[in-house]
Symmetry: D2
């Protein structure tokens, strides 16, 4: 398949590499060109503008940091939307707002292009290994058309709705759940440590009894060892997603107080200078507030 791929950060570069390995023809664009060039030797064509990446694509994949980056790349100067051929499909895999996803759907439709939202769960190592979880929403025929791409990038693809924004809601809500895991563990550790227990021992009991999801083990270990750099997912990106889930909740009038609590944890963590740490460093707040 002729694939345009825009956004070769920690996540995107692994995903693109897996598509190339599977024989797809990739035309790649990244704002800092150097990151794109490392894919050149593997067979990707590197271009200098989003428009060039889109102009001959059957499918255009975007994997960018936030709403602003997606808007720039699609709608800005030399943007991809103007260049994408009618009938081609844009597969938006970035974690963006529900609102922007809705707007992209409308604008692509006006241009007789297709749009699928396909955000992912997984950290950079999962992206590199082709083991992401991909949540997909959009018109069924287009999803089928792209299934070969999803199969290479992820270990499991969940098709959940015909309307693209549904996938974004799902992704943002999932990230919200992850933050509740981080926060709950942090508070638990604050309590057990101040009670004189060994936090590692406590974590072992939890993860070998009821909390068997690897998520608990992984984040729990990071928090216990107090090691948050290098960041798999940086604090400001985590905060951005917290803001997006709150915005989604505001729009539909659904109070989600745990997200409000986590919101304030992010602010506190960043006020303490933890902006370069992994987002799980919000756990430091609970420990600090207990005097630890």
């Amino acid at each position: 398949m002729r694939v345009g791929f825009i956004g070769l950060g920690n996540m995107g570069s692994g995903m693109a590499r897996n598509l190339i390995k599977a024989g797809h023809q990739l035309t790649v664009y990244n704002r800092t060109r150097q990151r794109a060039e490392s894919l050149e030797s593997r067979g990707a064509r590197v271009v200098s503008s989003p428009a060039e990446a889109a102009s001959a694509a059957e499918a255009l994949i975007t994997m960018l940091a936030d709403d602003g980056a997606v808007e720039d790349v699609l709608l800005g100067h030399d943007g991809a939307m103007g260049a994408l051929p009618p009938g081609a499909v844009h597969v938006g895999m970035s974690t963006i707002s529900v609102q922007l996803s809705r707007r992209l759907g409308a604008e692509h439709q006006a241009k007789q292009q297709h749009y699928i939202a396909a955000p992912v769960f997984g950290r950079p190592d999962a992206a590199a290994a082709g083991e992401l979880f991909i949540v997909v929403a959009g018109p069924s025929p287009q999803i089928e058309r792209c299934r070969g791409l999803f199969d290479r990038m992820g270990q499991k693809t969940f098709v959940i709705d015909e309307q693209p924004p549904a996938a974004n809601v799902c992704k943002l809500t999932g990230n919200f759940l992850i933050t509740t895991v981080i926060e709950s563990l942090a508070e638990a550790f604050a309590l057990v440590r101040k009670s004189g227990l060994n936090a590692e021992k406590f974590l072992e009991v939890m993860t070998e009894s009821l909390f068997t999801a690897p998520l608990y083990r992984n984040y729990g270990s990071m928090i216990v060892s107090d090691k948050f750099e290098p960041a798999g997912f940086k604090m400001p990106l985590g905060f951005k997603d917290n803001r997006l889930v709150l915005a989604a909740a505001e729009e539909v009038r659904a109070p989600i107080p745990m997200a409000s609590l986590v919101h304030d944890r992010f602010l506190e963590a960043m006020a303490l200078g933890l902006s370069n740490a992994d987002w799980s460093a919000i756990s430091r707040v609970s420990l600090r507030n207990a005097g630890l």
Copy 2:
């Protein structure tokens, strides 16, 4: 082993049965005698006071609803503590306060009896199947002495500390983590449902990707199907544990705001008349507050 067993509720009756099956000699006591009698045919000796249950025991197990029940049974009229022989061990498996556990430790010691705290994770079906998770703290030799009992009642025994109250902290903190799972799922469902998504579909994506612990599937299904009776663990017991974890946190000066949030959910759920429902019915609050 000669075992006194006090407390034959939803949990205790399954646990006692498993001990009998394994060949231990049980002397059982329950406030409402009927529940005890169902064990008689299986070989248990049924007695009429806590003291009788304790008087010839090598190990005395208590599995009761709350601090008050434990105090009554041990320290009240015809209480077990006065009758338990020196050298015998009291295995406290109820979910009680850290404070009471500390006090029991001291009082047993004064009487040259031993005390182990061994609270459990698991609902009545796990108790019946001998698949509890048991968290044990106390003097090592006594724990070893009782290992045969634990092996029959649980699928895994975690020995975590020499001081009994450590096990109670661990249990209460674990229950706190469970409440955060319930609450986070409830808030997530409120958001996805108001966004027009199918909550069951959302739950499937979550539990088949990152949230693979059965806990998420089990509580998630209860919440999605809005079915909270018959209760596996009743609302007021859940609230009691929430109060106990907050009390433990107050004592050591550790703020745990998620427990405070859940505290207010319990109050709201009970104000709405859900006191006979399973504790996971606190999820109704999030949905109701979103206008669902």
Copy 3:
């Protein structure tokens, strides 16, 4: 003084009337022209575009609902900013974001115009009576130049800073404090009513002892009598200000958890259909959540 006045809603119409009474020459613009015409008989000149209102003004006053309205009027088609003469001063009295205030400051400066932020405290009756509290920030000479205007619109003018956004921070934070009064009273009433006390009696004790600010009496009476319409300040405007104070706090990394709590109250109130009520109807949430 030749004054352009844009925005003749509940607040603006009273303010404009007071300026006319004091002899200032007003050129007024309102999106729905009818509201402007009621001022014509009092001597105001009614115009059909923001630009006309600004073109001959020494001072341009804007009193609009939100950021969007201010942007439209100043920067949109036939906008006021392009027409305002160099050397004239824009007095922004709307409750807008810190961010927009900062941007207006920069854009006016680029056009050699002046900018003062002068948001107000007070409800429509205070606007009509010329009894607003006005919080002013901007260059001193411009503030002095406008003092005659402030004196007619308000009972007290607070000059707090040379930088306009400071006044917006002050206004938003003040509104935040008002929401904490409303919320705290609502929770207090929930508790006392469920305890069998008379809420009105309780309010009397509070307002005649420690909580003597009229604010407590006024909002307290509204809540006790459960009468929220007609709205002095509508729910969605209150929510907008809550969002703006949270945005201001996000920008400077200051967690303000009471605003997060109130945020969720607004969402719940709007989910319950209270969008046409006064913002103090968020109090219904606390009573409802207590089962009242």
Copy 4:
């Protein structure tokens, strides 16, 4: 009137002095006798047990730190309740739990003694000046009988109910409102200071516009000047009252989330070593959490 007075701390000594000045015959008891002796020269009779203070009293006033102290003094060894003559009235002015107040009512009745709950608002300087606000509940004839006492100790007496515990609910809820004022100011200061504003200036704007109650000025000044010692009302006493209002709310099933938030502030403040400071030092938490 023959008055027994028990509890001569910061509050009680001023109150007792005012009663002596007014010509009442006081028999006083204090655990540390020295504090009582300072009243001897003014005409009080100093005794060595609660029972002696009560034995000839027409009215027995208690002004103690907490439930435990009240229980000791009334029901302990040489306790006052056993000695108080039938027909005499116990005026409980301490800030105690609703539950204990209810129990005292029942026990006094059983002994044909009377009981009035009459907790107060005001700090030690107001107690010394006879300017407390007194909230009274109990049987009307007994209240009338004691009115002369109230008039000397307070500037205003609010009679609110025939049932004593109503006064305790009112007092605890009022203290809850005070904590929301402290917390809201602290959060406001965190935001304005991080936004580059002068907190004192901000406080001035607030207290001279909408927040005119002296409470805002007084606590606001303490927070701005960061001066919390000597404590007018010590942190652990403030925390006790927070616990009592939460207990009252638990009993009647009324969620009051602002009290939960303040609860966690108290824990954090005490974890940071502020246990000797005035309760308003919980404000330090908001500033610290914003990185100030």
